[in-house]
């Protein structure tokens, strides 16, 4: 035990707590590693702290994770780039631990450091580390190795490059599926650094091996990298080497592989020219749209618009549209929902005529779908159709759909449609809204479910913002204020909520003349919950109305409430009075 000068005390605590029994304190210290390093100085950080951390490899995973992260930005603390290699030792150990997230973080940090290291250090220090990990006894080391090749490769001399490629090839055929998965998911990164001649030979061979793996999970990851790999190749090579694989995969016996293809196909199109898209990818995509597994159709349906955007309108109408029609009648509600969420986007691609003729019936049938999510998805994208065909053609079918959703027995569905009401109001215009939807908005204020009543109040605020105070004065305020006489205290509470939201939008004058009297009146309610909510609303209105009104109306009301027998009412009334005083003081 030695004594430490007083100013160093907190640093000394930090250092000691690197080995505290409490994991929270160890974590704390590790997060402050840079402070410790600065206190020790660069030399001692290299000679003492880093070896100390290298020893500390059996700590809890949370601590190791934090350590892996800190070490990634530690280059300045060990004396800059020329000493960066000392960080490799602790990170190498962290690359072999059992916990995946720690290894991933260590690999990430190693990549960060490696990309700053001098070429010579990379060859002499970094590459041997990669080779050691790749030859590791446990799969954990080999899994980590796969993510480091793209850093080591570019600066390596020719013979070493050949060796690295052959090591990677072995990793692609490792006994453990975990290693092959890592090799598959990192292949495109490595491929990006490999010279084009070797890319076409070695890397493509590895790719082909991985695409024929027994384990579905390996093949899945191989598909995932397809698009990235394809972009590295010349379009004709991509068409020759990647395209057949993808077309094969689109008919794989595992639905999960096909699902992945459905998700990736669009990306791959970007790497290929228009011709292979038309001859090969389009038929493959159409097959996926008609796949017998619903999950695959969901993925494919979700990409329908993106895919149409890269096709010519004729091809889209000829090949994709028939599938879209089928999908709109699919037996799986999730497929229909996925379609509904994107199908509106096809309108601009197809143009007005085709949209009215072909897409409109599909929209309409989806709007009448028995599954609420499908209808909601259509309604949420209404603006896209509006741009192409205008709302008139839709409005007739739209209204029944909205009304039905508004009365759906699942409150989450009602909530979702309320949230779209401002969008609808904007698209449909005042006239349509007044006639058809105004009543619904009032009805929601008295819903059984609190979240709906709350959302309804917020909705009124949005509408008032959308259509202006004059409109609100005519169409919202009178109906809302009527609720003051409702016999149900929860409905009267909703009124107060609505007033607190509408006040700022409506402005001082209307608030004083219409809203405030109702609130003051409510302060005489027999239910204490109403009364303390009155106190809260009054507090929120202080900033809306003039100082004189505050003194004349709000303060007396709050004073009265502050003498209420109920403790909560008194509490909020006093809070309200305090904020009046604060406003007065500041002004």
């Amino acid at each position: 035990m030695s004594t430490v000068e007083a100013p160093l005390y907190p640093i000394a605590v930090l250092i000691d707590e690197l080995k505290n029994d409490d994991i929270q304190l160890r974590l704390n210290s590790i997060r402050r590693l840079s402070t410790i390093a600065r206190a020790l100085g660069e030399d001692r950080t290299r000679s003492e702290l880093i070896p100390f951390l290298s020893e500390n490899n059996d700590d809890d995973d949370e601590v190791l994770l934090a350590m892996a992260e800190e070490l990634g930005v530690f280059v300045p603390y060990v004396g800059g780039v020329e000493h960066a290699h000392v960080l490799l030792t602790p990170l190498e150990t962290l690359c072999t631990v059992e916990e995946t997230c720690v290894r991933d973080k260590a690999v990430e940090s190693l990549c960060k450091i490696g990309s700053q290291m001098r070429e010579n250090d990379l060859i002499e220090r970094f590459t041997p580390l990669v080779k050691r990990l790749a030859a590791g006894e446990w799969f954990t080391a080999r899994v980590s190795a796969c993510g480091l090749f793209h850093i080591a490769y570019p600066s390596a001399p020719e013979t070493l490059k050949t060796e690295l490629r052959s090591i990677y090839g072995q990793l692609c055929q490792d006994d453990m599926p975990m290693v092959r998965r890592s090799a598959a998911s990192n292949l495109w990164k490595f491929a990006g650094t490999v010279e084009s001649a070797h890319l076409k030979a070695d890397i493509m061979q590895m790719f082909e091996d991985l695409t024929q793996d027994d384990q579905d999970t390996v093949r899945l990851l191989a598909v995932e990298g397809c698009a990235a790999l394809g972009k590295l190749l010349e379009p004709q090579d991509c068409a020759a080497r990647i395209l057949p694989v993808i077309v094969n995969f689109s008919q794989d016996k595992s639905w999960r592989v096909r699902y992945m293809v459905a998700n990736q196909l669009y990306e791959l199109c970007e790497a290929l020219g228009p011709e292979p898209i038309r001859t090969d990818l389009l038929p493959a995509y159409v097959r996926l749209l008609r796949d017998n597994e619903a999950e695959v159709r969901i993925a494919a349906a979700g990409k329908v618009t993106k895919f149409c955007q890269i096709l010519s309108p004729e091809l889209a109408i000829q090949h994709i549209l028939p599938c879209v029609k089928e999908l709109s009648l699919d037996s799986s509600q999730h497929v229909r929902a996925a379609l509904a969420s994107v199908v509106m986007g096809m309108a601009p691609v197809l143009g007005k005529d085709a949209t009215i003729e072909q897409l409109l019936p599909i929209f309409l049938s989806l709007l009448k779908d028995e599954f609420p999510d499908v209808r909601l998805n259509i309604i949420s994208k209404l603006d896209q159709v509006n741009q192409v065909i205008g709302i008139d053609l839709l409005s007739q079918s739209l209204l029944p759909a909205i009304v039905e959703l508004a009365e759906d027995r699942h409150w989450r569905v009602r909530l979702a449609i309320i949230e779209y009401i401002p969008l609808l109001a904007n698209q449909l215009g005042v006239g349509f809204f007044d006639d058809k939807l105004g009543g619904l908005c009032m009805q929601w204020l008295q819903d059984k479910v609190y979240s709906i009543r709350d959302a309804a109040a917020k909705n009124l605020k949005h509408l008032a913002e959308e259509f202006g105070p004059d409109w609100a004065m005519q169409h919202i305020i009178p109906q809302v204020l009527e609720i003051a006489n409702d016999s149900h205290y929860l409905h009267r509470m909703t009124l107060l909520r609505a007033i607190s939201l509408l006040g700022p939008v409506m402005g001082s004058e209307i608030t004083c003349s219409k809203l405030l009297p109702v609130v003051v009146n409510a302060s005489k309610d027999r239910v204490p919950n109403i009364k303390f909510n009155v106190a809260k609303v009054l507090q929120s209105l202080i900033s809306v109305v003039d100082q004189s009104v505050v003194e004349k109306t709000i303060r007396p009301c709050l004073v009265e409430l502050s003498e209420d027998p109920d403790v909560d009412v008194r509490y909020f009334a006093v809070q309200g009075l305090q904020s009046i005083d604060q406003v007065t003081m500041s002004s």
Partner: protein, 514 residues
């Protein structure tokens, strides 16, 4: 010439019956000692290498054993082989560690008690020196990591440990009691750290008075940590868990559903089989056991209470309600009784190591199925035929619902399962084998084997591979050994590479070798 023929036949014929010997017992009961309910073993599992064995009990504990006969002499193994020492070697285990895996819980929403009893244990891929396993009770699966950790003895601290309370809590105490000037300007210690790192400039050579703590002791001890909890996914009781060969996923099965999990993700699982009918009154069949194929990542088998085994292909569709293959034995005409369905219920299935055969256990028999032949089992071994006249009594005392496990040897040549009176039976399943041994889980396993079972005539098995054997050990009852239905041997496991069986008799773990 004649004799010569016989020799050839013997060489090519089935392997000789094994001569089982007692090896070890853990938790042996002394005479008259009462068994505590919580100590009763409820799960046994060898890991893939056979170097470790895990047991779970009704008290929610998991006990790990490690093999000693290879590990200790690992370095000089080659020498030993040269010395021909290996011949007398058989797997021996020693206690490694134990931990409390599950605790009793109460589900307040459903007003249900959740027992802590371990239903199944499965080993996962070992990494570094750490062991990983999954354990489950009725509702919750847990992922455990068992690892050696250094025992820390810290010396050479910067501060007197009695004063250094901790960097979270020290702020207030030091503010009030100690006159540290640096803390005076920051109300919390965090604030003063920030001051340090931003305002305080460290001298370029660092501060020589500070030094890192030194760890002195290099002793280690084993620590089990629960890494993940996979919960809230089963409405019914979990009966099986099984790892996939991809090393990434596993399944858990309850009475009506099978869920697929990723080992790394504990907050979501995918339902892959759901046999729950829309109306529970239409329920006729429940899932009793499920297992992944040992090498094909996309295949799994599950058994049902009606005595069928379904093989499903995860590649076919996301929800595998339609099976790829159904294995069922057609009911013999005229044999139907009240008990037919109850005794047909399969209590356990296991894939053979090569993945071609599936072993199933129902109340009366062990059946071996070839996954390429769905017309019926390739072999049936009678285990409890002598109980047929007593089914009524067994039904009355609920013994008929006992769930016996089964296991296959690593070479796939033999199968084993438990029975009553702490007996277990081993059958040879190689073509032509007539091996059928009854052993008792005690230090003298052959005590009960008064009579070798009657052998069926040989030609039968040469006509067809479908053999019925071990029909009866008729003398047992007559021998005066009345069967004791309270001492049942439900759980047993075969070592993956050697002829060694671990089995549980109440709270005792018996190990045998041959």
């Amino acid at each position: 010439m004649h004799g010569g023929d016989e020799v050839v036949a013997a060489l090519a014929g089935p392997p000789q019956p094994l001569d089982w010997k007692f090896s070890q017992v853990f938790g042996e009961r002394t005479a008259g000692e009462e068994v505590q309910e919580v100590d009763i073993i409820s799960a046994i599992e060898f890991d893939k290498t056979g170097d470790h064995l895990a047991t779970g009990d009704r008290g929610g504990r998991v006990v790990l054993f490690e093999r000693t006969d290879t590990k200790d002499h690992g370095v000089s193994r080659r020498d030993m082989e040269r010395m021909d020492y290996l011949i007398s070697r058989h797997p021996e285990f020693r206690y490694k560690t134990e931990f409390q895996s599950h605790e009793p819980e109460f589900d307040y929403l459903k007003s249900l008690e959740i027992e802590e009893k371990i239903n199944k244990i499965r080993w996962c891929q070992t990494a570094n020196s750490a062991l990983f396993l999954l354990s489950t009770n009725d509702k919750t699966i847990k992922f455990w990591k068992v690892q050696e950790k250094k025992v820390k003895k810290i010396s050479d601290m910067n501060l007197d440990p009695s004063k250094a309370v901790g960097n979270g809590s020290i702020a207030s105490s030091s503010n009030s009691s100690s006159p540290k000037p640096c803390l005076a300007n920051g109300s919390s210690l965090d604030g003063s750290y920030n001051n340090l790192s931003h305002d305080f400039s460290f001298p370029p050579g660092g501060l020589p008075s500070l030094h890192l703590p030194v760890v002195t002791s290099q002793e280690t001890n084993l620590v089990a940590r629960c890494r993940r909890v996979y919960g809230h996914a089963h409405d019914y009781h979990i009966n099986s868990i099984s790892n996939n060969s991809d090393g990434e996923t596993f399944i858990s099965a309850d009475d009506l559903r099978i869920n697929l999990w990723n080992l790394e993700i504990s907050n979501q699982s995918f339902n892959i089989v759901d046999v729950k009918p829309a109306n529970m009154e239409d329920l006729t069949e429940v899932i009793t056991s499920a297992e992944f194929h040992p090498t094909h990542c996309n295949m799994l088998a599950y058994s049902s209470s009606k005595g069928s085994i379904r093989l499903i292909d995860l590649r076919q569709s996301a929800l595998c309600d339609s099976h790829a293959k159904l294995f069922e034995e057609p009911e013999a005409p005229g044999s139907r009784s009240f008990f037919t369905e109850i005794i047909a219920s399969i209590s356990d299935i296991k894939f053979a190591k090569d993945g071609r055969y599936i072993l199933s256990r129902d109340y009366m028999t062990l059946k071996l199925w070839d996954i390429n032949m769905d017309s019926g089992p390739v072999a049936t071994f009678q285990v409890h035929e002598y109980l047929r006249p007593k089914l009524c009594d067994l039904y009355e005392n609920d013994s008929i619902f006992d769930k016996f496990e089964c296991c296959l040897s690593g070479d796939g040549l033999r199968v084993a399962t438990g029975s009553y009176s702490n007996l277990f039976r081993v059958f040879g399943c190689a073509p032509g084998s007539t091996e059928a041994t009854t052993l008792e889980a005690s230090k003298n396993p052959m005590r009960r084997q008064v009579q070798t079972p009657s052998r069926p005539s040989r030609p039968l098995s040469s006509i067809t591979r479908v053999v019925r054997r071990g029909t009866e050990t008729p003398g047992v009852d007559a021998n005066g050994n009345s069967f004791d239905f309270t001492t049942k041997l439900l759980h047993l496991a075969w070592h993956p590479t050697e002829n060694s069986i671990a089995c549980a008799a109440a709270n005792s773990l018996y190990m045998y070798y041959a």
